[in-house]
Amino acid sequence: MLATVTHILPLSRIRRARLLPSTGKVLVRTNQKVSTADPIAETNQGGKHILVNVRRALGISNVKDVERLIDRKPGDKLQKGDVIAQLGSFLPRVVRAPADGEIVAISNGQVLLEVQATLFQLKAGFSGIVTEIVPERGAIIETHGVLIQGVWGNKIVDQGMLLSLAKSADEVLTRERLDVTMRGAVIMAGHCARADALTMANELPLRGLILGSMKAELVPLANTLSFPLIVLDGFGQIPMNNAAFRLLSTNEKRDACLNATPWNPQFGDRPEIVISLPAEGELPREADDFKPNQTVRVQGAPYASQIGTLIQVKAGTTTLSNGLRVSAADIRLENDEIVSVPLANLDVLE
């Protein structure tokens, strides 16, 4: 059976295509070094338009007659007040640009002006090297190092020195644990249940926050923070999974890049933590079947976020304590306990 794969890797080749949603301008070149928050491409998005009805303004019904009077073409940049069309020479009737803008279309006696374009800049997402340019869309960026994928992010991208505030994977982040010495750092903590802790983090401010879990009621506040927040295991009082906890603890003081993009299963985007290392790794697998000896993480009570080894996929269906009959596997947890877990509640760590 097909498995969900999550990357929690001490050393991996990390290769990501960073592409604009529509055509635009690529700002980097091949072999250029980029940092997490560097813009690598930009495009105009969601511009505002003004439709100038020249036909109505000049009182002419014939479209061909109107278009002969329009002394502009698509692509022309206009300033407010510039003449678009004029009828007559003595006391002429004039149609002027109502605002600064660019003519994007002329049709049916109407002129369409783009007056306000929102510039969208795509950030690199992690520190690395540009290995390939995708013309008008973006670039492929690569590095080698630690790769940890999360389950929730607040859409912000940044990087900073990683500091661990958690001596254990289930330690709770409190306001009192944060102080000005952490300003500008990326903090790793276990669980956050209090809004005041996030507010304090925002006031310092931090450059990033990595949590094992968080209360769901904090999501609206987390979406207003000025730094990236990545949740690794989910919502509720769930300890950080040991694989990520160990990896982050042993990489303290290194530069951690956080791309807190929301998890989009349709396109495969996930919030990610990248810590570049001076070593070379391999590209990880993105898809796999369930097999014996795989390292897996359990999702859901009573074994939430626990890491284990898959012993075997059980034949047929297994009846759980609540009466549900499911496809399941036997898992040996890190405490050597052997438990049956539905396959749907496992992700393979690769």
Binding site: K48, A216, E217, G234, F267, G268, A287, Q299, A301, S321
Partner: protein
Amino acid sequence: MSSSIIEAESVLAIDVGSITTRALLLDVVEEEYRFISAGSAPSTGIAPYHDIGEGVHLAILNLQQILGRTLFSNEGNLIMPGKPNGAGVDRLVVNYSVGGDLRIVAVGLLTDVSLESALHLAGTTNAYVVEAVGLNDRQRSDSQLDAILLARPDLIIFTGGTENGATRSVFKLAELITMVCRLLPQEKRPEVLFAGNQAVGKKIAEVLQKWTPTHLAPNVRPSIDLEDLGPAQDILANVMTQIRRRQFGGLDGLNSMASVSPSPTSISFGRMITFLSQFYGGTKGVLGVDVGSSSTIMAAALGNKLYLNVYPFGQGSGITQVMQLSRPNDIAQWLPMHVPVDVVQDYLAQKALYPASVPMNTETLAIEQALARQVLHLSMQQTQARWPELPTTFEPIMAAGGVLNRAPLPSQSLLMLLDGLQPSGITILVLDQNGLLPSLGAIAKINSILPVQVLESGAFLNLGTVISPVCDAHFGTPILRVRLELGESNNPVIEVRQGSIYVLPLRAGQSANIHFQALRHVEIMPGRAREIESFKIIGGSCGAIIDARGRPIVLPPDASRRRDLIKKWNMALSA
């Protein structure tokens, strides 16, 4: 694509959901069509596969293993038509609900007329209406243009002009759509489905076709007072399939093998509910509900008329939309045990991240079943608000969806439906435990025999007849005396009290006459002029049920009392 499956014997029906892909085999056994078995596998329309073919292949493989019947050739191709030795299948049909939300912009002349019908048409699929633009909505044309561009639609449903009605205004809207297309690169332009004034349809298509693929459908609003979505629904289904074929792989290959064009699951589901309404006849109409992970389909049919809508409420990714309209306590109130509301909220947020996950203990199963009640409630509420002319009683109510089908006890499925839908009067609840309805709907298009025979074959689980009397008595007051005529010496009498649920001692398939004696003013069939005194009843897997909890069901505000009551209701049904 082959033309007819009327002479065919075996049919393989594929249902590609957002989480699970299923392969169902229907074949002739002892000269009648039967549902044989189903295989399943995780759906692969999303990353990293982006190709539903992989999931379909694995589902069919699973089916092959279960049946011990060869379905694939040595080269790995589906064997079609079937061989004399039983290998392969004769025909293939495909339904899908995978692919995330299709973004639709509705464009119409009048907000309350054609635009409303465009929105209703969009609502029959799991599409997401991202913007609605009406000529009379007071926005300037350039603001409307910006709104459509910002919405990034995959499809524009364009309506307007009753038959022999407005034409110039329709062309004005076509101009707006043309302007949208001019500003977008070719690959980003939305397709257009015009379902308005047929007199200008061809001209509109000529104008727009220069910029983007444009499709014509019969007018959804042929007159001010008449909305007719049926013919346009089929064309919308085809347009959606074309768009989906570009968005993810595998659908093209299935399309080339299938006997009918792959269809959005909701359209096939609605077709089957209409079929059932005609099949059963009667005056009550049939209700169908399918609770999915990302959306819920609700379809009611009275004779030929179908009322179909897909709601963005579900048991997985659909939780987000449920929580936009609900407080966590709306779900927690249905729990038979104490679970803090914030824990419920956390569980639901986690489930939205892992929609395929399974509850592993009693508490989390109870949370998911409580969620199902809220999903059903919201869907029913919105259906009734949109179509107030719909009756409150249907017979039967056909129910499907993982949370209902996989419940450990049929009584749990029954109670979720009763608590969520809160039907009144007399109805029969039927569980589509094998998820057959959409597949039968797809097959019914060109083979009306197969669905009838499968329906009568026991593939569906009759949960039971439910009688829901409506009375305004206080809790605990006797409202009815019910006598069941089982045999000469076995005629139990039950005194029905307000606020309780009773299971009548009828085995599945056992029939009896039931007699009512009202002890106060009570309606057994609301709206009926003459009250019912007796009728024949047949037991289902849960017997037959009298649900005297009142409509709407009002749960006690005191948490402890509420939990006791819910436990009592659960025990009454599962005893």
